[in-house]
């Protein structure tokens, strides 16, 4: 029920651009048009007090899919906003860490592990990767060669 009513609220604000949605009890997955992505994040975070639980990065064949999980704790609803990021060239998207400080570490982790760049991120430095792992080695990508990784 929660998922349906929140979907209505999203449609009321963004119309058809909300895109395809899937829902189940306590979960709502949204695939918005990329142009309204930032507005939707602001809508969920600022106007509805959505708590950024985390961002999951999924390595699909030709793109990375970023899943921004926002929890609306008072409704018991986990809203996941999906954003595709093209793989070829230099995969990148805009950072939300300036608006949501909690995203800073999350984006740093994804940048290190998947090589997705976040434009405008306030602290683009290493958080987790060992010094022996190269800047261009992204351990969590599907094509990463774990067997031949050098270690100290």
């Amino acid at each position: 029920m929660n998922a349906s009513s929140f979907k209505e609220e999203l449609s009321g604000r963004f119309g058809w651009k909300v895109g395809k949605t899937e829902k189940s009890s306590g979960r709502l997955y949204v695939n918005p048009e990329p142009e309204i992505f930032e507005d939707m994040v602001e809508f969920v975070f600022k106007e509805h007090g959505g708590r950024l639980a985390t961002i999951s990065c999924v390595d699909e064949e030709d793109l990375f899919r970023l899943l921004y999980h926002f929890s609306l704790d008072d409704r018991g609803l986990m809203v996941t906003i999906k954003l595709p990021v093209k793989k070829d060239g230099n995969p990148s998207t805009k950072s939300i860490a300036n608006e949501i400080p909690g995203a800073e570490w999350i984006e740093r982790e994804i940048r290190e592990m998947f090589g997705v760049d976040f434009e405008g991120h306030p602290a683009k430095k290493r958080l987790l990767k060992a010094d022996s792992v190269g800047d261009e080695d992204f351990p969590f990508r599907k094509d990463f060669d774990v067997e031949n990784l050098e270690v100290d």
Binding site: G26, G76, P101, W105, V146
Partner: protein, 399 residues
């Protein structure tokens, strides 16, 4: 003039490796920078190579303290993905172990917190009484830690009624002792002088950073996954979400100690109400393609797992986010402007758990080698180094 104080990555006061850089001017902290990653074991990646039923054993090793929390969150994610039902009795068992784990984790932290501020009496009390709950966990699951109870669709083992009854006296003792600890800590003027108004996390900052668990509840925000997304049998139990408004370290101590008492109360109710008979496992055969989210209230806050399935017997993606990953960055809001002496307890007050935060063992080029084998090898190496070919006793006997 500003000075930089490096602490770590290995330091006698720290239980795990992490590296802090405190920029200070005289006694005042101006800035803090943190480097972690010393414990990264790549568990998310490892998990993609295991079957759905093997993953609980892997994620159980994400963290030695929350060894029930991660498998529970993972199972919730798989059950969410596949629409898998869990039998009533299994829910009771899962919830019981979860609450007992909370008791041991909170007492562990209370002891460490006492130690960090130089109050070792609290450290010894808390850890002494914590033994009691570890004994209960050993009685019920066979292990003090890493209980191996979870599986998608239910639990691995049943708990016989006589073991539940045997646990009761321990819970009564724990209740008395935790009350005593709470009174002793909250009554003590030294604790107040040392912790009140220290490291305040304002409500707005707590929301911006997405802080979790006791850290955020001590800042007056009543979020708790057990109440917001009821799983297990929490909606059948009589308990309340503990909050405090002050947002300082003392409030975090208070919230954790009161939660310990709530957890003991809940454990007793579960023992009273646990069904005598019934299945403990719905034995799901496969996980259909799709995705699922599992969020679980671990002792430190929401533990978040995302599982993607393509219909095969392994997850295609398994994302793990431990509560410390969200709680720890709040140091920016709480440490700056405080004194160096207070920085240690403020950093410790979110109950940081780095092993969880990083989740990554380097076994590169050695895949499949048993840890046991590595350990034996290392012992042999050391023996050669020190010229110890035979055991010391044999040496004496041969003389």
């Amino acid at each position: 003039m500003a000075t930089t104080i490096p602490i770590g990555p290995y330091h006698p006061l720290q239980e795990e490796p992490e590296h802090y850089l405190l920029t200070v001017e005289e006694e005042e902290v101006l800035d803090v920078d943190v480097q972690i990653g010393y414990n990264h074991r790549g568990i998310e990646k490892l998990s993609e190579k295991k079957t759905f039923n093997q993953v609980p054993f892997v994620v159980e090793r994400v963290c030695g303290i929350c060894s029930h929390s991660h498998p529970y969150a993972y199972c919730l994610a798989v059950e969410d993905c596949g629409g898998i039902e869990v039998p009533e009795k299994a829910k009771y068992i899962r919830t019981l172990i979860g609450e007992l784990e909370r008791i041991h984790s909170h007492l562990l932290w209370a002891g460490l917190a006492g130690h960090f501020i130089g109050y070792d009496t609290v450290f010894m009390w808390a850890w002494r009484y914590r033994e009691e709950v570890l004994d209960v966990l050993e009685l019920l699951t066979g292990n003090r830690n890493a209980y191996a109870m979870m599986k998608p669709g239910g639990v691995q083992r049943d708990i016989p009624r006589e073991h539940l009854e045997e646990a009761r006296p321990s819970l009564t003792t724990l209740k008395e002792k935790s009350e005593m600890l709470y009174n002793a800590v909250l009554d003590d003027p030294v604790m107040k002088a040392r912790l009140e108004g220290v490291g305040v996390l304002e409500e707005e900052a707590a929301r911006d950073y997405g802080a979790l668990g006791p850290t955020v509840r001590a800042s007056g925000i009543p979020i708790d996954v057990r109440a917001d997304y009821p799983y297990g049998v929490y909606d059948e139990l009589d308990w309340k979400v503990i909050t405090r408004d002050a947002g300082d370290v003392l409030a975090r101590v208070e919230v954790r100690l009161l939660e310990t008492l709530e957890a003991i109360k809940m454990s007793e109710q579960i023992i009273d109400e646990m069904p005598e008979k019934g299945p403990i496992d719905s034995e799901p055969e496969n996980v259909p393609p799709g995705e699922g989210i599992g969020n679980y209230e671990a002792p430190r806050g929401e533990c978040f797992h995302y599982v993607g399935s393509d219909g095969s017997n392994r997850p295609v993606r398994h994302k793990i986010r431990a509560p410390t990953f969200m709680n720890f960055p709040t140091y920016k809001a709480t440490c700056v402007g405080e004194t160096v002496a207070d920085a240690t307890i403020i950093l410790a007050s979110v109950d940081p758990c780095y092993s969880c935060t990083e989740r990554a063992i380097s076994l590169k080029g050695r895949e499949g080698v048993d840890l046991m084998e590595l350990s034996v090898e290392r012992t042999e190496e050391l023996k050669r180094e020190f010229g110890l070919d035979e055991s010391p006793l044999e040496e004496v006997l041969n003389e």
